[in-house]
């Protein structure tokens, strides 16, 4: 995540950021103290976690929930709290 900082000659003018959505190169996963672990066998694919995840960190594969994106998941626990079948556990992050 180390970025080479450009000088004024190379930066776009006006403070514009020309690459849409490039925050995905910034990893907020380092913020976590608790980590969501999903038991995919329990998951019923209701996709509520996708709707309520504030960090776009529910991974979808072939139309189904496939765990979390740990690069960006901040460990807020919303997915675990709202999961109707308790398929997600929050465990202490090991650093």
């Amino acid at each position: 995540m180390t970025e080479t900082k450009k000088g004024w000659k190379d930066l776009p003018i006006g403070g514009n950021i020309l690459e849409a959505g490039n925050s995905q190169h910034y990893f907020t996963g380092t913020w976590r103290t608790y980590k969501p672990i999903t038991d995919l066998d329990k998951c019923i694919n209701c996709l509520q976690c996708w709707m309520f995840c504030p960090d776009n960190s529910i991974v979808i594969k072939d139309g189904k929930m496939d765990g979390q994106d740990y690069d960006h998941c901040k460990g807020c626990g919303v997915c675990a709290a709202i999961c109707p079948v308790k398929a997600i556990d929050m465990i202490k992050e090991e650093k």
């Binding site: 004024w8 930066l11 003018i13 006006g14 403070g15 514009n16 950021i17 020309l18 690459e19």
Partner: protein, 391 residues
């Protein structure tokens, strides 16, 4: 070329705007700018322009909507005066930092308080560090021509910086003069098509106005700084083309009867008309005097002044605004420009015409007398005082 038409200063700005045919204008009434907004609204009502006129509820929103429109990729303009410019202040800085080539007709008026509706430069001078190009204009023809040229300057890819086209409230804005406009076709050909892209017109989505902290803000300010440094090269190019195409020759600093002058009076906007009249009568008395009128205050024409002013023995600088507790703006920046130059002239400043007080010929004749004393004896060198105030 068209033919002469009678226009006020405000109408001259509105007429130039009409011929440019901007995509969006957002303006709010304030004396003495109102006739710009009124006249332009008539053009909209009569279908003479393609413009969306946003009838905002304040000057703050006028500048905000203009920023939104320019950011979207539109040619966008506004107009204001005095407290209206003061209310815009926050967004005036944002417009330039976003590098939006907005044009703004500024009808210079005293800032409150006490409230006063007449002409002085305290409004524009307060915005001198806002990152806008500032063009000052003596008369209606100049207002018109500056508007057309300002668009080319502001939109130039090396510049991409907004510009204020200033004129004195009432003295210029409400006085009728003959103005020789270009034809619509000439204007359109001269300004050309927009080259900048915005949120609507760009191929891909992008982000404008992000949070810019210690690690990048400084670089973005440097970019603004460098863009300003390129303005005069563009101005020269645009002025030359304008002169070649239309026969009206402007320069960054206008000189009047300076060829053999040893003293000159310098100032901005309409007072220079009176100054030229007094120069003519002083010349008849054998005084070797001339006038110097910077047309730009931002960027400040430092190199031009360093070249020009050492030709004279003594200079008077007229400021139509005060900088309380400091030297007034044109005077102080001229002094700073001359620092360290061998043969720099002696220099004296006057603060004149605040709140629209008339700077009449008699007052300027006094200035001429004092200027000769300054030249002959050095009396008053490096001082400044109020001109024509009652004790």
């Amino acid at each position: 070329m068209g033919k002469y038409i009678a226009l006020t200063g405000a109408e001259s700005a509105a007429f130039a705007m009409k011929q440019i045919n901007p995509d969006v204008v957002a303006a709010y009434p304030i004396t003495p700018q109102t006739p710009v907004a009124m006249k332009f609204s008539e053009y909209v009502a009569n279908g003479e322009v393609n413009t969306e006129y946003v009838t905002v509820e304040s000057e703050h929103s006028a500048m905000s909507a203009t920023v939104g429109a320019a950011a979207a990729g539109a040619r966008a303009m506004t107009a204001t005066a005095s407290n209206g410019l003061a209310l815009m202040w926050e967004i005036v800085y944002i417009a330039s930092s976003m590098r939006l080539p907005i044009l703004m007709a500024v009808v210079n008026r005293a800032l409150s308080g006490p409230i006063n509706i007449h002409g002085d430069h305290s409004d524009a001078m307060g915005a001198r560090d806002s990152g806008w190009i500032q063009i000052f204009n003596e008369n209606n023809q100049e207002v018109y021509d500056s508007f057309i040229m300002a668009l080319r300057i502001a939109e130039h890819p090396d510049v991409l910086t907004p510009a204020m086209v200033c004129q004195d409230g009432f003295i210029t804005s409400h006085s009728v003069e003959n103005v020789m406009p270009l034809t619509n076709e000439q204007v359109q050909k001269f300004i050309g098509k927009k080259k900048f892209k915005g949120l609507i017109t760009a191929d891909k989505p992008f982000t404008m106005g992000p949070l810019d902290l210690q690690d990048y803000y400084f670089e973005h300010k440097k970019q603004q700084h460098e863009a300003m440094k390129k303005v005069f090269a563009v101005v020269e190019e645009v002025q030359n083309e304008y002169a070649k195409e239309f026969g009206r020759k402007y320069s960054v600093i206008e000189e009047y009867r300076t060829e053999d002058a040893d003293t000159i009076i310098m100032g901005l906007n309409s007072v220079m008309g009176n100054v030229k009249t007094v120069v003519d009568s002083a010349r008849e008395k054998g005084i070797k005097i001339g006038a110097v009128k910077p047309r730009f205050f931002r960027p400040f024409p430092v190199d031009y002044l360093r070249d020009l002013l050492p030709k004279f023995k003594a200079v008077v600088v007229l400021d139509r605004s005060d900088s309380f507790g400091a030297m007034p703006p044109l005077y102080s920046e001229t002094l700073a420009a001359l620092y360290g130059i061998e043969n720099a002239p002696m220099i004296k400043g006057y603060i004149h015409g605040l709140g629209g007080r008339d700077t009449n010929l008699a007052m300027i004749e006094t200035v001429v007398d004092n200027l000769q004393k300054l030249k002959d004896t050095g009396e008053g060198n490096l001082t400044f005082e109020y001109l024509g105030v009652r004790e």
